[in-house]
Symmetry: C3
Subunit: 342 residues, 3 copies
């Protein structure tokens, strides 16, 4: 699994301007403080600039303006962080399985597999499923009836895709994730609940990334939709008929209730909760653990809640929070009395 290439080759691969000896052999990527002579590093955040002069990195990916501060070779680019991301992909050490269906997998006779597909041990591919070229299905992953998975996807082990789910190309899903489970829809019936069968499906675009143990429910009538270039972290709950716009990112433990529509290029930090039937316009950014109970029609940054404080001080603030309305009214009364005297 080990990759090595010359610095000149790496520069060419990345479209970077090489300054220094292109013959150095590069075998990996590391942080400035840890990189050795056969590793490339990067400086994307000026907060780490002081690490430059002592770095033993074989080469540093860096912007033009700082390139002369690199002790060794430099790879000069406009966006070092983006270039670092591409570099990690070159040195990706994830084991790549050989295409083919593992003898212990079960693939239904009516499933259609593209070229160079990999189906791992104990995976289960249901009737009518279509899987595109070069897609990997990990060990123990189950794909339900008639679902369609595009080409160049990676479904890691122990994922569950229900029936009637449609996934685009270049989609990566981490383990334990469930796509197409029943949405949580019930009609109340005198203290009991009558199930609303979830007749819709899930449609996931291209270049979508989905973390581990995340849930994306199928729609009640129409589909739940995840557009292209969306990235979702672990343990996220996407309820039925949610729509997530292109390029939107969500960190871990976010929960989105049913039928909410999120615009393009939004970011939801960890633990954010969105109530159901809301609309968030494009370019909305929500801070960690914020509760959103109304639609957000203006782009911008939003937050709720409070952050940590010593518990004995917190107890007093939390108690006073319950008196806030009374405090506000008493304040008004004092102001009026003051006015009367002025």
């Amino acid at each position: 699994m080990s990759m090595e290439l010359s610095l000149a080759e790496l520069a060419q691969h990345l479209g970077a301007e090489l300054r220094g000896d292109g013959n150095i052999t590069i075998r990996g990527v590391a942080a400035l403080q840890e990189a050795g002579a056969d590793q490339v590093s990067f400086l994307a955040n000026s907060g780490y600039q002081h690490h430059l002069k002592d770095s033993s990195a074989g080469a540093v990916i860096i912007v033009e303006a700082l390139a002369d501060q690199v002790p060794g070779a430099a790879l000069v680019v406009k966006d070092p962080y983006l270039c670092f991301a591409r570099t990690t992909q070159i040195f990706d050490n994830r084991p790549l399985p050989k295409p083919g269906v593992h003898p212990s997998a079960f693939v239904d006779d009516t499933a259609r597999l593209g070229n160079d597909v990999y189906i791992g041990p104990k995976a289960v591919i249901g009737p009518g499923v279509e899987i595109g070229d070069r897609t990997e299905i990990g060990a123990g992953t189950v794909v339900g009836d008639n679902s369609i998975i595009g080409s160049d996807c990676v479904l890691n082990p122990n994922i569950t895709i229900y029936h009637g789910v449609c996934i685009g190309n270049f989609v990566r899903v981490q383990s334990g994730t469930v796509i197409g489970g029943d949405g949580f829809g019930y009609a109340p019936n005198r203290g009991k609940w009558e199930r609303i069968a979830q007749l819709g499906g899930v449609r996931i675009g291209n270049h979508v990334e989905i973390g581990a143990n995340t849930c994306i429910d199928r729609g009640a009538l129409g589909d739940t939709i995840i557009e292209d270039h969306v990235i979702l972290d672990n343990l996220i709950q996407i309820a039925h008929n949610v729509k997530v716009g292109e390029g939107t990112a969500m960190a871990g433990c976010v929960g989105i209730a049913g039928s909410t529509e999120i615009g393009r290029n939004c970011t939801l930090a960890g633990g954010v909760g969105l109530a159901g039937h809301l609309k968030l316009t494009d370019g909305v950014h929500i801070s960690g653990m914020t509760l959103v109970t109304n639609s957000i029609l203006e782009p911008g940054a939003y937050a709720s809640g409070t952050s940590h404080m010593p518990v004995h001080e917190w107890r007093r603030s939390a108690a006073r929070f319950k008196q806030l309305d009374s405090m506000a009214k008493r304040l008004q009364k004092l102001e009026k009395s003051q006015e009367g005297k002025a």
Copy 2:
């Protein structure tokens, strides 16, 4: 998988009063704005009433008072939403597997399977397990030793049921859910933790619905109990020895700490957190992302926290929250000084 029936048959099935042509063929359910001539729709929320007049639905499920506003046929009922729920079940398109044990499943010799049970590919049924008639066990699902699963249940793929779990009839569980895992119990021992073996089990009633990637831990000494007609969404944490009363509903990402008892017909919205060893009486309704740290002995609606605001305004409010006690004391001082002058 496609179902079709005449509107007259549908009306009879639903116990609805038919107004209009009973010979229309109905092939599905859709929202008012999207339904075609062979689909039935419904009006359960007056907010959607304006969609009535332009709807192309073959028939609309509706209350008596509004029935004359339906352009086509009407199915008149008392509770259109409940009737809609039943209609979705008629048109449920979930693929139904043929009864039988898939050759790639492993069923221990000592397990007892009822009539017309389905055991999917790669499923594992442990020693001493009992599975009731017509129950479906999905691909890759594991049922641990001596667990009992009732009749007419649906366990989707990749679920884990530990040993000694007892599940009633008509229970549906979505993928990735874990029932009977060890509760989180440890005795502190000089900076380390001594494990408390979890000797209890889990008992789940009839007609319970459980979402995806949810966890219901086994009890430490006694059992964790989920009563009949409880509905649980995805990514919920039910700790050891929790008891959830009949008909209670929990939305996604709820967390319940150990030994807490929740009454009947409660609703917990998404992201709610309940501390351990609490009691919630019947009919308690908790808003999204609320923290509950004390027992709630009065039925009613409860909430905590704050909702989103623009981040620059939020920063000021959050900072002032930390000064609340001081503000309250200063307000009192002003009031006293005022009184002194009056």
Copy 3:
């Protein structure tokens, strides 16, 4: 699976001082109110002391000072709760599988298994994997290429361990958990996201306990690290390059963002969220659902947020929270005006 021993044997096993008849047969553990003559109980919390006199327990684990209040036999120890924990382990009723590789498992030829290892049905052990003596791998669990799992571990069913993960000895993991999934790292690229391949791994120490459906991501460059004696509950998110110090405990639904370092012997209650790149010193205790946005360098207890209140009162407090800064300024103005008059 049933265990029985004499009270004298149990006392010896626990290092407890026996007061009473050592010939009683003990067959289990139960709470004071529920224990029968063949069960041992314990009193660890003075809140339950009133149950002592009516308890039918065969013996009670108790401190010296209260031993004379036990109606039957007593096992006198310094720390009854710790002793109770050890007692539950003696009576642990978890079915123990016989060592061996189940014929339906798939173990790669290059994997190395220690002595008395158990590999359950449909489990998948990848190339180059090492598994230590007496370790149990549950049904359907997948261990990725070259991962190393120590001795005396219990990996329950349907767990996913990615490649290059290193787990110590005496580690227990509940079902559905994912260890070594890709960290959530992407460089923004004009509305799209360029993936940062996650080149690091996960290192987990000895005596670590991990709950169900929890996620521990692999590091981006270096490793994600969980030190010895850490205990993690269900549905926890540990992001890439997080470090969790020895003896730290986290309850369910906690989320830790990337590169945050948590000290030793910390406790994080349920639903706590930690932002990324923080440091928490040793001995920090965080209350349920607290948001931590800055490093905590002083040991102690911390909290944020507010707790539940009736929803109509809450609405007023939550509305006033948004006016807090204005209220604070108006208060200051009144105070100044007051001072002017004094």
